[in-house]
């Protein structure tokens, strides 16, 4: 899977998150009048939407890595961060909406017409930002948090405006919120993938075997390669690969490959390697898996 495909994949995961959240959100909204307070109502909505989006985003990386451990860990982290992000986002978004909405509401009559949809879109955006931040926080990466903010903001604004204008042009349309959630989910996912792509100063592409063509971005300070699902580059389905076989450390602009003491060893350009500074285009052999290293 190329890096571009990863972006699309994350986006699709966001769409599915939005789709899953939608019917639950509709039911909660339908019973708004039965909630005791606005806070509880918003908390319920935020938790619900955040939960499903968190699950889908959390799962997506594990799915790409084809690692059950990563899927599991991703779902658990996704649930936690999704609930927190959704809760914080929805309550903050509602607070902003009430504040901005009241300001617009108390403005000239002509200003009200534009102001109210815009303030609701801002509410969506704040919700989106929090979901995006939670998504980035899962990775403990500042840049991912930043892109979560961008993705969440753009996705939230566009999603919110889509909902508002669909309501104006087809008030009977029951799918307005679904469209909004899908747009938001897609953009959060996409921007997350984008930053991952941009942040990666290097990548490894598999040249053979089951996952031939799959490209792994090298984003962190240390990237582990091995059979274990917990490694950043998990290569299941290749013989002679140790659980943690090789690691690549980022030192400034250089990438240093170090063999993790595996029996079969690691080879760079057919030479057995203990510690090698990698060059663009190097061929790395980990067990039976062969990668090409690419530097940007």
């Amino acid at each position: 899977m190329s890096l571009l495909m990863r972006i699309v994949f994350f986006g699709l995961a966001g769409i599915i998150g939005g789709m899953l959240a939608w019917p639950f959100a509709e039911v909660i909204i339908y019973y708004q009048a039965d909630f005791p307070t606005l806070l509880i109502f918003n908390a319920a909505l935020g938790i619900t939407v955040g939960l499903f989006m968190g699950i889908c985003f959390g799962m997506s990386e594990g799915l790409i890595a084809v690692s059950k451990e990563k899927i599991k860990a991703g779902i658990i982290m996704g649930i936690i961060t999704g609930i927190i992000g959704g809760l914080a986002g929805f309550v903050a978004g509602q607070a902003a909406l009430l504040y901005i909405g009241t300001t617009f509401f108390n403005s000239n009559y002509s200003f009200q017409k534009i102001g109210i949809p815009v303030s609701r879109a801002i509410g969506w955006a704040i919700f989106g930002i929090c979901i995006g931040v939670a998504h980035g926080l899962r990775n403990m990466s500042l840049a991912k948090v930043r892109n979560g903010i961008i993705g969440g903001f753009v996705g939230g604004i566009l999603g919110g405006l889509a909902v508002e204008y669909m309501r104006i042009y087809s008030p009977e349309n029951m799918f307005a919120r679904l469209v909004g959630l899908i747009i938001m989910g897609f953009l959060i996912g996409m921007f997350y993938g984008l930053i991952e792509n941009r942040l990666a100063k290097a990548s490894m592409q598999l040249l053979n075997g089951r996952y031939k063509g799959k490209e792994f971005p090298i984003t962190g300070r240390v990237t582990n390669i091995g059979r274990s699902g917990k490694t950043e580059i998990g290569i299941n389905g290749y013989t002679n690969v140790a659980d943690v076989h090789t690691l690549i450390k980022k030192e400034g602009n250089d990438f240093i490959l170090t063999d993790a003491g595996s029996k079969p060893g690691t080879f760079v350009n057919d030479d057995r390697a203990e510690r090698v500074r990698l060059k663009n285009g190097d061929i790395i052999r980990v067990g039976e898996a062969q990668f090409q290293f690419r530097k940007k």
Partner: protein, 476 residues
Amino acid sequence: MKVRKSVMLLCNICLILFFSFSNAFSESIRISQIDSNSLLLNQKIKVYLSVTDENGKPVKDLGIDNFEIFESPENHTGREREILAFEKGVNINRGINLLLVLDNSGSMYWDGSGKIKNSTDQEIWRITYAKEAITSLLKEIKNPLDRVGLFTFNVKIDTETALTTDRVKIVKAIIEIKKPLEEEAYTELYETLYQAVNYLRVSKGRKIIIVLSDGQNFPLDKNPHFPERYGIEGAIDSAQKEGISVFTIGLSKKADRKNLRRIAEETGGAYFSVYDPGRLEDLYNMIRDQILNEYLVTYSAGMEPAEKKLVKVSFRDEGMPVETERFYYSGTIFGFPPERIDYLIFLIIPVSAGLLWLLSMIKFEKKKVVPSFSVRTSTGRKTVVHTIPVTAKSSAITIGAGGSTDITIAGDPKIAKTEAKIINKNGVFTITSTASPITVNNKPVKTKVLRSGDLIQLGDTGVVFDMGVTDQIGKR
């Protein structure tokens, strides 16, 4: 003469009757502010109420039992809400917004009685009285936080001086008032008042309008300056909804006292005559007194979904109950609920679960792949991959730029006709270069047993050899 006198008398009696009748029930109530800031936090709405008698004086010492609060979405019947707290004499020391709305129609340049219409003696002009009244009012405004604005109007809103704490600006604006042209000499009092209310919506804090007019509303038919007309009802209604008290000052003996008084009474202001300077001096103190004697009622808000909620306060003392209404904004992020909930929407869950499953399938896992060569040609940023499978029969594969080779890389002058030959012996592939050494895995070699994933570099083109995948390899 006699007939006229008796008609006058009758009129006066009627007037006295009218006023005594209306005075009996003329306490009025306004919501001067709705504070929804803590709605999200604790579901509470604070309502600031101003209750005044027919003279615009605050009604003090009212209790919780005098008030009832109802709340509803727009166009719904209100439901009574529980009053959680009641406070008296709320002091809001934020400064008052006073908007002066001054009539600048042609008749403002007549004398007080309306008999002298073309005098150049400014001393007798009505506008001169108005200016004097405003100047003395400005002197009374001692709180530096108070803001004053000035609108003048005739056929249109003539000049607008924005709300400011700078009194000099207002004084200057008053000096600069010009006599209107003949064709502008209409008096669009009600429409101006409506616009003045709309203008004040933006300002925070307590808002007061002071109208100074010499006569009646005298509208121009199809006035392009006011394409939409609201009339006296519209003007009063909007002022009530915004909690704005309108004080009116009649500038001539011919002033439309009835309607100026009506505007004042229904909005909780008071009517003054410019010929009663003693009372007029008291105007500012009266306004302050009103504001300092507001009541603060806190109630718990309902949860009905609505973009704006209507708060209705019903006040009852001794006479008939009086009511006032005002909206507050209560929109939610996801907006209105669906009319009905169709549980078929839950069908989207299996659909998205299916999609998720599909997504997990596209991981590019290849269960079974025959041995192949992938030619990767890079043109710019794009890489085109062309895969050539190795059939079992072919025992020798040639690679190069020539047309007769099995793997042909065209368009690269650096590549020789035949660069290398690959021999397949029982599944072991050995590459041998035909002339100069060939680069495999970034290393020049003459001959090499190819491993799966080896990269044969020919000029700018890379050829990746893949042994393929059989079911045995990679069993977990």
